[in-house]
């Protein structure tokens, strides 16, 4: 049995515990240890990739130990094609956060580093847990550090944003907890064994369609809040605007994906019939999210809010791809989760860079920065183009796969969603034009310091991956194909079978 996943999971926590013992006045050393640990973590997580076998659909690198024997809860980990890239995205973005905040975080650096390390471990745990309760533990554990990150290092209105973020998410996840308990109870009554293993709930027998529908709602609500799906998205702009740059990068880059990942890993295979029945509703909400998010982003005077609403729009594509229940669309959706992590992470990072120098995020305060900060402008434009979906960069591949796949099963919704791509081009290019081109309208912008070494170091890997995915997406897609295929088989077999029985009835 390989222990790579356990190492990846516990390394950040071990570092965090170590850092707790170091006196707070050694702030430079603490930051260095944090960054070093995050980099080592990334390297270790790359070994997952080397152990990962292509063409295998099920879980790999599996580890399982009994945890709470009485309830059949196990400490079981595994990765498959669906979670692999999300784990790596998490381990990539954490060093990026530390690099970008190297100079910006002067208040309580020790606690900052500890919070992000614990958050990293919890997010990895979410993606690799193959026991439903273990997943739930990590799912909630991500909330605490993020709450502190927004609340302690955030902007002026941070308290409101932090509490709103926490309450929205916990409301969904506690209802999901009841759902989890109820499913385990149903499983116990059918089989006589308490178990929370994810695969034991595949192809569950529900007592009635209503039970399945209610459980579907309990799970979907938790994930829809996390994604966030329209109309549950209102916490997101607040949280993003108030969060410090690092918090925004992780929030947009990884945490939102916990919602889409949850749909893929749990909702689809657990409730195939309810999924087939209610997919149109979720698709409708996601298309509304795509268009609404884009329209609202268009009119934002604040750069960070603009990027935040663009997240609502982009995540709408991911959900559309998932509920299209079609191979290409789901693969595109997973790829788009990674893409969004890279491009939106980069955008939040860059907005943070300029905010730190000028202490304003108002579009109206900028103009003509292209001449003052050419390197910064280049990075910004690459990130924007990746987000817009320029062919040759990653965003294009993801959106194209989602749209072409969804068109086969949901043509009308897909056509509507495509307007989101056009709108994205409008508001993002408008952002670029306002900030970087034109004359310098504000004298203060004449002497803005160029992007610094640590920020460049944070940006380079993101840009490299944007190009890599854009040029050769197959590196990434080929690892997910078998798992997605298996997922769709699970969904369609059950769904199809019941549809037949309903017809004969």
């Amino acid at each position: 049995m390989s222990h790579v996943l356990s190492v990846v999971l516990w390394l950040p926590i071990a570092t965090a515990v170590l850092l707790m013992l170091i006196p707070r006045r050694w702030s430079a050393e603490i930051k260095a240890i944090g960054l070093a640990a995050a980099l080592i973590e990334f390297v270790v997580s790359l070994t997952i990739l080397s152990h990962f076998e292509d063409g295998v659909a099920g879980m790999q690198l599996v580890e399982a130990h009994p945890w709470i024997k009485q309830w059949g809860i196990t400490y079981s980990l595994g990765v498959d094609g669906i979670s692999l890239w999300l784990v790596l995205l998490t381990t990539l973005l954490t060093p990026v956060v530390f690099l970008s905040g190297w100079n910006a975080i002067t208040k309580h650096p020790k606690e900052y580093v500890i919070a992000f390390l614990i958050m990293e471990a919890a997010m990895i745990g979410v993606f690799i847990a193959t026991d439903l309760l273990l997943f739930y533990v990590f799912f909630e554990l991500t909330l605490l550090p993020m709450y502190l990150v927004i609340g302690v290092w955030g902007g002026a209105n941070r308290i409101y944003a932090a509490i709103k973020f926490f309450l929205f998410t916990i409301a969904g996840s506690l209802l999901m907890l009841l759902g989890i308990i109820y499913m385990a109870f149903l499983h116990f009554h059918d089989s006589g064994i308490w178990s929370f293993a994810v695969t034991d709930f595949y192809g569950m027998h529900y007592r009635s369609g209503t039970v399945e529908a209610l459980l579907f709602v309990a799970f979907s609500l938790a994930f829809a809040i996390k994604v966030p799906l329209f109309p549950l998205h209102t916490w997101l702009p607040d949280a993003h605007v108030e969060a410090p740059t690092g918090g925004s990068i992780i929030l947009a880059g990884v945490m939102l994906k916990m919602g889409t990942y949850g749909f893929l890993r749990f909702v689809l295979p657990f409730f195939p019939n309810a999924t087939a029945k209610y997919a149109p509703w979720l698709i409708a909400l996601s298309v509304i999210g795509v268009i609404y998010g884009a329209l609202v982003a268009w009119v934002q005077p604040d750069m960070k809010k603009l990027v935040a609403y663009s997240s609502v729009s982009h995540l709408g594509f991911c959900v559309l791809g998932i509920f299209a229940l079609q191979q290409t669309a789901i693969e595109g959706s997973i790829l788009q989760m990674v893409n969004h992590g890279l491009s939106t992470g980069a955008l939040f990072l860059l907005v943070g860079v300029i905010y730190e120098r000028r202490h304003t995020r108002k579009l109206a305060d900028y103009g003509g920065l292209g001449g003052v900060m050419p390197v910064y402008a280049t990075f910004f434009i690459i990130a924007v183009l990746s987000s817009v979906g320029l062919p040759g960069l990653n965003g294009f591949v993801g959106e194209f796969l989602i749209l072409s796949g969804s068109f086969k099963t949901q043509p009308r919704a897909t056509i509507l969603a495509t307007t989101g791509v056009i709108l994205a081009a409008i508001y993002l290019l408008w952002l670029v034009q306002k900030v970087f081109f034109g004359p310098i309208t504000n004298e203060e912008n004449r002497h803005v310091k160029e992007i610094a070494w640590n920020e460049i170091a944070a940006m380079v890997p993101l840009v490299v991956l944007m190009v890599w995915i854009g040029v050769h997406p197959n590196t990434f897609l080929k690892k997910m194909t078998p798992s997605v295929q298996q997922l769709l088989t699970t969904v369609q077999n059950r769904g199809g079978a019941v549809m037949l029985t309903e017809k004969t009835r």
């Binding site: 009485q70 709450y147 509490i163 309450l167 916990i170 009841l178 109870f185």
Partner: protein, 484 residues
């Protein structure tokens, strides 16, 4: 001198921890009377007594004693340990609190010991009268302890309130017992079990008796609608006492209730008495959590949160089965760790004890006293039931039991009110870390004893939260001993 005759004699062996605590308390009073200058030693000495009492649990053999009215078994031992844990934590916090307030004395700890004896009797009684005796022993100790800060008006007021209300409640319990006696000709649970096996569930006398008993004991549990005293009493009582009071007597009352409910099967369900309990539970969860939001005084907030927590514990009691007893046991132990810990941090706030201790008093504490801040944060997250703390495991166990017994609707109420509760627990964390300390803010003094107690509760919270299996095994065995 040999202790053997003491341990060998069956009845003495059965009450060995009680004997140690009773004698220890008396000696401690004499010690502080004859050696007033050595006041500082009373707390360490009483810790030794508590630890010896806990160790003596190993020497105790199980069985029924005193004419079948007193049971010693796995469950009573586990609860004894819980009571002792609560007392030890309270003692550790009290040491520095009493010293700072200048009211240290041996009688404080002696009363804690005798109160613990009362609770042990409640937990072990197989006869309603033994339970009532234990309840009275406990109540008298509480009256004095709550008013222990005798120069403070709030403390006196709290004591008087608790005394008047408590006297009423005991009266209710006695009336209920008398009516049951009238119906069953005995106050023994064993006889009651036989009677209820064939009882007429529609008999109004029984229902009246049950209502009286439940109201009286509900008062001790601070369950809504019998909760009115709790916020005032907690606010006025010396803070370590409030922490102890919010946990230990509730634990003792709950185990007595389990025995009472178990002896009343199947009438308990047939006469819809379980529905009454369910109503109390739902009401407590809603009132406790909703009103706690409005509290700025930390002790009042914890009082309302405690009302809600009893509501959660009662969810598990709706079906009297092995699993529900185990769930309650786990919940009680967890609650002792986290709630006394939370009160303990509050007890360390250096402030005129006559004034309310509000959220403003902990502003910025998280960075001024990182360990206290961390401890209070852990307690708050555990109280709100977030993983990986013990609070999550305990709540999960309760909700799982509820779903398993067909009370999914009540579990849903529990979940929804938990969401509400997160708000006010989080607000404490917000004040700890995100609010600047006010001008002229006095950083609380770090005390060795309190730090040790907080370490115990934090370690306990995480150990139960991450490795609950050993506790589950103990609780399972204990539950089996209670409901054979």
């Amino acid at each position: 001198m040999t202790l053997h005759p003491l341990i060998e004699s069956a009845w003495m062996n059965a009450v060995l921890p009680e004997l140690i605590l009773s004698a220890g308390g008396m000696l401690l009073i004499l010690w502080s009377a004859f050696a007033p200058r050595l006041k500082g030693t009373t707390a360490p000495l009483s810790l030794i007594v508590f630890i010896v009492a806990a160790l003596s649990e190993n020497a105790v053999r199980g069985g029924n004693f005193f004419g079948g009215t007193y049971q010693v078994s796995a469950i009573t031992q586990l609860f004894d340990i819980t009571f002792l844990l609560a007392a030890i934590l309270a003692t550790l916090f009290a040491r520095e609190y009493l010293e700072r307030e200048g009211i240290e004395g041996g009688e404080f700890y002696a009363l804690l010991m005798w109160g613990t004896v009362g609770m042990m009797m409640m937990a072990k009684g197989l006869d309603l009268l033994v339970v009532i005796l234990g309840l009275e022993t406990l109540s008298i100790c509480i009256f004095v302890l709550v008013g222990y800060h005798r120069r403070l008006p709030v403390s006196n007021e709290a004591s008087l309130k608790y005394f008047l209300m408590g006297a009423f409640a005991t009266g209710f319990v006695l009336y209920g017992t008398a009516l049951f006696y009238g119906a069953t000709q005995s106050t023994k649970f064993e006889v009651m079990t036989r009677y209820f096996a064939t009882a007429d569930a529609t008999n109004p006398l029984l229902t009246i008796a049950f209502v009286l008993l439940l109201s009286g004991l509900g008062f001790k549990l601070a369950v809504a609608p019998f909760h009115g005293w709790a916020p005032d009493v907690y606010q006025g009582a010396p803070t370590p006492v409030a922490g102890w009071l919010s946990v230990a007597p509730k634990a003792a009352t709950l185990i007595a209730l389990v025995r009472i409910f178990a002896s009343m099967m199947p009438t308990f369900h047939l006469a819809r008495w379980s529905t009454m309990v369910a109503a109390l539970s739902v009401l407590s969860m809603i009132i406790g959590n909703a009103v706690a939001i409005a509290q700025r005084d930390l002790k009042r907030m914890l009082a309302y949160s405690g009302i809600a927590h009893v509501g959660y514990m009662l969810i598990a009691m709706l079906s009297v089965r092995d699993q529900s007893v185990a769930a309650v046991t786990v919940y009680v132990i967890t609650y002792a760790l986290m709630n006394i810990g939370a009160f303990g941090v509050i007890s360390m706030l250096a402030k005129n004890q006559n004034d309310p201790q509000t959220l403003d008093d902990i502003a910025g504490l998280g960075f001024r006293r990182p360990f206290y801040g961390l401890a209070l944060t852990v307690c708050m997250f555990s109280l709100s039931g977030l993983p990986p703390t013990a609070g999550f495991i305990a709540k999960f166990y309760v909700f799982k039991t509820a779903v398993d017994s067909g009370y999914t609707g009540i579990a849903l109420v529990g979940i929804l009110t938990s969401i509400v509760s997160v708000y006010y627990y989080l607000r404490v964390v917000y004040y700890l870390y995100m609010k600047e300390a006010p001008e002229g803010y006095a950083v609380p003094v770090a005390g060795m004893f309190a730090t040790g107690a907080l370490a115990i509760s934090m370690i306990g919270i995480f150990v139960i939260g991450i490795f609950p299996t050993p506790l589950f095994e103990m609780a399972g065995a204990a539950a089996h001993a209670l409901l054979p």
